[in-house]
Symmetry: C2
Subunit: 259 residues, 2 copies
């Protein structure tokens, strides 16, 4: 028996999120089905991040146990010949038998993408939030700075969360226009853990500040309130991508894996 | 009676190209239908570029004649509330009654996008060509330089073309990696006119040179041969986007329109 870790990229458009559910196709379901067929045994993956319906990933992570004699590194290639084109295995490798993707120290990087222009761009509609009003990214960055560090993020957590604490640590949060195309605004967040919908609520609140509907230092007041109703709306899922997960206890540097 | 010019952006994924055809939905068909319903008269648009199935546009152009009293500038907004999300009207304006988008001097800009990495990226699959082998963009640029200027491009024209001459002028042709993400290779072509599949055959030939399957100066030999069988394959449609069309006889500078 060995434990295999997969790095998984997907276009979430046509899936009801990561986690198995009765009413629609999920990433987890497709991985379980194709791995079970490939390896000839019943496989159940455990995911690092149970992304929501419509959210994308370049480097989500899943682990599973198997008796297979196929070398771990070959599983990615074998799987990619079977999977639909909107799911790709970027890497597969053997890990320690006790490695659990949600119970170990990691840093996750998310990106929220906004198409900020007078007209929507058809090619961007599945991968960004369209915002007609011009966003002031300097104001957004000033507001974002209040969130960096360890705080109680209860204001940025949707109900339905099973978290025992709402304290989390954000280690990086930037708001920038793409230098190659200034109509694209990118919010990049890095942290050791995130609450349910946390990145999307942060994005929704930053957009209200960028449009001038709220003041920059409202962000501090919202954070201190520990009350979801004080923050802005949950930004739409299609703008969000889980870019990568860095496992801090890994022997080797796997920072390149999801790039 | 007045003549209206539309600047049209679309995601070509779900369409059988621009031009009306019996066997599938086209951009032209959707525009005719929605304009006719909006304006209450039978409208037939004339397009500047009849893009192929799966090809995208940020700034294709269509004109039509109408008796409407709706101000020309408002038609874009009215249309965008009716059109599916994968087609957007970026601008609408009145033009001279004799303006014809294919019979006047213009410069077209196309972009061909390649995702050049060991693994395919699910979010890029509808908007780029996946290339596993590392492309040498310096070799590609050297080969591309042979094509700049006025030449007989018969080697880069698919059969089925109705063109009376295969002489065309390319005014700019660059091959670069995206500085923000070097896994993306962008081929940008600018010219006063293009033959059927010309940009995609140029892209397919440049990719073979970038992979080392052909020498850089093969491009000159292929050009001189005036024989389609000498060039590389027609690169897949989803990598191609018609970025903009600049009409040289326009009174005002419309260079911004499709940006």
């Amino acid at each position: 028996m060995k434990r295999i870790r997969l790095t998984v990229a997907y276009d979430g458009t046509n899936y009801c999120g990561w986690q198995l559910q009765p009413n629609g196709l999920t990433i987890e379901e497709v991985l379980n089905r194709e791995l079970s067929q490939l390896l000839g045994e019943e496989i159940q993956v455990v995911g690092a991040s149970r992304t929501d319906s419509g959210v994308h990933a370049l480097g989500n992570v899943a682990v599973f146990d198997t008796e297979t004699r196929i070398p771990a590194e070959k599983i990615s290639f074998a799987m990619n010949t079977r999977l639909p084109e909107d799911i790709r295995i970027i890497a597969s490798e053997e890990v320690a038998p006790d490695f659990h993707p949600r119970h170990c120290n990691s840093v996750k990087t998310y990106e929220y993408r906004i198409w900020n222009h007078t007209f929507a761009n058809p090619k961007e509609r599945l991968y960004s939030k369209f915002c007609y009003y011009e966003l002031n990214t300097e104001r957004m960055q000033k507001a974002a700075d209040y969130l960096i560090g360890t705080h109680d993020f209860a204001s940025f957590c949707s109900s339905g969360s099973q978290a025992t604490t709402t304290v989390r640590t954000i280690t990086g949060l930037t708001v920038e226009r793409d230098p190659e195309d200034p109509r694209i605004v990118l919010i990049r967040v890095r942290g050791t853990g995130f609450l349910y919908n946390m990145v999307r609520i942060i994005a929704g609140t930053l957009m209200e500040i960028g449009m001038g509907l709220r003041k920059t230092d409202d962000m501090k007041r919202i954070l201190d309130a520990c009350d979801r109703s004080q923050a802005g709306p949950t930004a739409e899922p299609q703008g969000l991508t889980l870019v990568k997960i860095l496992f801090l206890d890994d022997d080797d540097d796997n920072d390149q894996r999801a790039d």
